[in-house]
């Protein structure tokens, strides 16, 4: 298929934040209806659907009255939606389906109709991590960073610099949860969650949803939208437990996935105008900037501190405010993709001028799964 695959719809739930009147399934279906409206596509034309295992795309498809002939239930945490895009590109190019809907909905704060999560005590993580008083992401996802600091010369305060840079973007975004200006001292005055991380270096926990609609470039010509081209994709993985990470200073889910996405797009870091890096915690953008090759090893902290990722900087990063200030339902990747689509369509809340290319880097689990999208304006 010469024209490739494009994103023609990208939308969130009407509101994000605390939504106790929405079940998990309602968040999926509201986001899906908004994305369908955004694309202008006839819902009867949707013949492919993807989402994580709970409530699952079969349930979401039935609720929406869809009858798919292609389905992807890849569930690798917050990066899953980027993985779904990659898999949908392959399916659309192979002619297995013609229009794919990818949905996310998560009652992360209110837990309405939300699945319970606890590791099986017989699993590797249940036997060899859970016994040590780990509280989930706050004491596991953060664990590699002390090593990262020592081996790369990065300072603890660089985490605060990330939070401050992203708050600058959030302050321009009316939908962001946190918009008040923030200083490094404010961040450092917030309570410890797990040293070396303060509260304001950890993400929000919210309710919300988002959805994407993909089709072929040929099919998109009938639609009155500015399609966003999927130029390249990649995925990469490490183990289910944070203690299994081979190198605590570099994540294969960023490095390998990013390299694959750049290779398939025929582009490199210097060709990218805008970047989204999954930020459940403030160290992820530092790992991402280095693992993706935007800066050299040990340079990410100073790069952020000097303002290069902030409004007006040379490499705008996490321009919706990110998981730290915008929203974070638990599996944040969908919102990162939607922000990239909006930037490429020129309709973002904190719009960066002349964005022609955007890279979205997802994370799933805690440095367990990665997927990368390189997207381009029409």
């Amino acid at each position: 298929m010469s024209g490739g695959v494009v994103i023609v719809g990208a939308a969130e739930t009407d509101t994000l934040g605390r939504l106790p009147d929405h079940s998990t399934l309602m968040l999926h279906t509201e986001a899906a209806r908004n994305a369908i409206a955004d694309s202008g596509i006839d819902p009867r034309d949707i013949d492919g659907i993807a989402g994580v295992s709970a409530p699952g795309p079969l349930t979401v498809a039935h609720a929406l009255g869809l009858e798919p002939r292609w389905m992807d239930t890849t569930s690798v945490g917050g990066t899953s939606f980027l993985t779904h895009v990659r898999h949908a590109v392959a399916a659309l190019e192979a002619g297995q389906c013609s229009v794919v809907l990818i949905t996310h909905g998560e009652s992360g704060r209110s837990r309405v109709g939300a699945p319970r999560y606890a590791p099986d005590p017989a699993s590797p993580v249940g036997q060899f991590e859970a016994p040590y008083g780990v509280t989930g992401p706050p004491s596991r996802f953060t664990l590699p960073f002390a090593r990262f600091m020592k081996d790369t010369g990065t300072e603890r305060r660089h985490l605060a610099d990330v939070a401050v840079a992203q708050r600058k973007w959030a302050s321009m975004n009316p939908r962001a949860k946190f918009r008040d200006p923030l200083t490094v001292d404010d961040v450092e005055a917030s309570p410890w969650i797990a040293w070396p991380f303060h509260l304001l270096e950890c993400c929000l926990v919210t309710d919300g949803g988002g959805a994407l609609i993909l089709t072929t470039a040929d099919r998109a010509r009938d639609l009155d939208v500015a399609p966003v081209r999927v130029l390249g994709t990649g995925e990469g993985y490490e183990g289910p437990g944070i203690s299994m990470m081979e190198d605590m200073t570099s994540f294969k889910g960023f490095a390998r996935s990013g390299a694959a996405a750049f290779a398939s797009a025929g582009l490199g870091p210097k060709d990218i105008d805008h970047v989204m890096i999954y930020d459940a915690f403030a160290h992820l953008p530092l790992y991402g900037l280095e693992d993706l090759g935007f800066v050299g090893r040990g340079e990410a902290g100073e790069f952020v501190r000097e303002g290069h990722t902030s409004p007006g900087g040379s490499l705008p990063v996490n321009t919706n405010g990110g998981g730290l200030s915008y929203t974070h339902t638990g599996m944040y990747g969908m919102f990162a993709v939607i922000e990239s689509v909006r930037q490429l369509q020129g309709r973002a809340a904190a719009q960066v001028p002349d964005v022609r290319t955007s890279l979205v880097q997802g994370n799933g689990g805690m440095f367990a799964a990665g997927a990368t999208l390189v997207l381009g304006a029409a």
Partner: protein, 154 residues
């Protein structure tokens, strides 16, 4: 290998099991937990690769050989990375802040653990500092933990 089994903190007056999470051993890990309950730390080793690995599997993750055995550990390790947890996990409510860490065993593999017998303060914890294994009893199970090698008296 010498070791200490600590029971006071996690076994209540009636001797029933701790509120801290207790792993469920599987056929490929049962010997690890049996040895731990006796105060011994063991890891798997591939006899073809001559490489020790963690967590236990009955084949080598490097070459898939089943020519593997169990290797007694010296109990010596160094601190690879850590956090100081200020929000307690299950059973740790009375112990915040506490140290969650990954250590490098002298035999090569890395494992998650807690660092005990040390102030939970970044000034007391230096990466690569030497550590010694201790065990914390939780009912039938004993969980390996580590303390600073220089402060081994317990």
């Amino acid at each position: 290998m010498t070791s200490t089994i600590s029971t006071a903190r996690t076994t209540d007056a009636t001797g029933t099991r701790s509120r801290r999470p207790v792993p469920t051993p599987t056929p490929d890990t049962e010997f690890y937990w049996t040895e731990a309950a006796a105060g011994r730390l063991v890891v798997r080793r591939c006899l073809d690769c001559d490489v020790a690995y963690f967590y236990p599997r009955d084949f080598c993750p490097g070459c898939l050989s089943t020519n593997v055995d169990w290797m007694p550990c010296s109990g010596r390790a160094t601190l690879h990375t850590f956090v100081i947890e200020h929000r307690p996990g299950p059973g740790y409510e009375d112990d915040v802040p506490y140290v969650v860490a990954v250590v490098d065993l002298e035999e090569g593999p890395r494992m998650m653990t807690n660092i005990v017998g040390v102030d939970p303060d970044p000034d007391s914890l230096e990466l690569d500092m030497p550590l010694t294994v201790v065990f914390e009893r939780r009912g039938e199970i004993a969980v390996p933990m580590f303390e600073p090698a220089t402060g081994a008296a317990r």
